[in-house]
Amino acid sequence: MEQYQNSGKSYGIIAQAFHWLVAALVLVQLGLGVYAASLPVGLARLQWLSRHKSLGLAILAVVLLRIAWRATNRPPPLPDLIPGWQRAAAVATHWLLYLLLVLAPLAGWLYASAAGLSVNWFGLIQVPDLITKDPDLAEVFKQLHRVLVALLALLIVGHVGAALRHAFWLRDGVAHRMLPWKPRKTK
């Protein structure tokens, strides 16, 4: 029986739900953003960019909730066998991931605000602008958004790579802390 809170051995249901929800939303979001940015000026671009912006704000909200949950729930410790440099890398990667998951949507929101393309969240809620319209700043935030997303994508690749290594090569149970089932065999 899985616990809601994190245990000494595994992430709880809530932390796992946050993790996989954010993972799925971010993957969809990356696809949406890249696709929308590739479109010429037209109705399709407006539609896909609007969805991208709405989803980005949703991700930002979920990530903030997730960070709040993380702050009150210590993650299960890594096994003692993990070398120090890998522990350091894991800690740095996780905090950078959280940081970018906040900063990338924020930069996008700033970009939309500065471009004068305010967001109406999925056609339901008028979202306030963070700053007033400024075409020069819009260009700055556009580039910042791209750089942050590129960094995020790189970190995700590293994160997934490390998780797969733990799951299939090392089989040390580290990756399974974030899965609702346990490995059949551990080293």
């Binding site: 000026v41 037209g42 004068g116 305010s118 056609g123 075409p135």
Partner: protein
């Protein structure tokens, strides 16, 4: 009624101001901006080149001939500005001028309402424009607004006629300083020498 009208006519004829206190509308110090809903959120832009001529009689508008150059549209997004000059929107190559003409205005309180004709992209519609007139250091400043349905003027055709993504209603807000010009009283002279209106 009749005698009063005669007296009024005499008064107008004998007053030099009433014969044609005309002004040029300059883009400097003024603005013409618009707002439309994109994906449910307000989006604003402006036209940088506009002008025209306004004639007043006793601080009431006697004539308006105003124009806007749609190619001067400025949304702050260069890609979008380029798209707005194309066929689906203003088609500026074929229709280089947005025009508004009115022959009189009706005063209601502080505000005046000019009933005239708005022409965009070759489509003409009757339009009432609300505005007010104030003096700024002796120079009249006219400011006001109007609301139009972009579909009446074929602005945003094809896929852009979907008003869920691009609202039908466009609110236009303007203000402009007026510069006095001397215009000869007789129509013949005016036609020959008026430097004011680019047609």
């Amino acid at each position: 009624m009749r005698p009063r009208a005669c007296i009024l006519a005499l008064a107008i004829a004998s007053s030099p101001a009433a014969a044609g206190e005309c002004y040029v509308v300059g883009a400097a110090g003024g603005n013409v901006s618009f707002e439309v809903q994109q994906a449910g959120a307000p989006f604003r832009g402006a036209f940088r080149r506009f002008g025209g001529e306004v004639c007043l009689a006793q601080d009431r508008v006697a004539r308006i001939d105003a124009w806007i150059d749609p190619a001067s549209v400025d949304t702050g997004l260069p890609e979008l500005d380029a798209a707005l000059k194309e066929r689906e929107f203003f088609e500026t190559g074929r229709y280089p001028r947005i025009k508004f003409t009115a022959k009189s205005a009706e005063a209601r309180g502080e505000r005046q309402f000019a009933r005239g004709t708005l022409e965009i992209k070759g489509r003409r519609r009757d339009m009432e424009v609300a505005f007010s007139l104030r003096r700024d250091g002796g120079r009249p400043v006219v400011s006001g607004s109007l609301t139009l349905n972009r579909l009446d003027y074929a602005i945003g055709t094809g896929e852009w006629s979907d008003t869920r993504w691009l609202g039908a209603e466009v609110k236009v807000v303007f203000s402009a300083k007026l510069t006095a010009v001397t215009i000869p009283a007789t129509p013949a002279d005016r036609g020959a020498s008026s430097p004011v209106l680019p047609k």
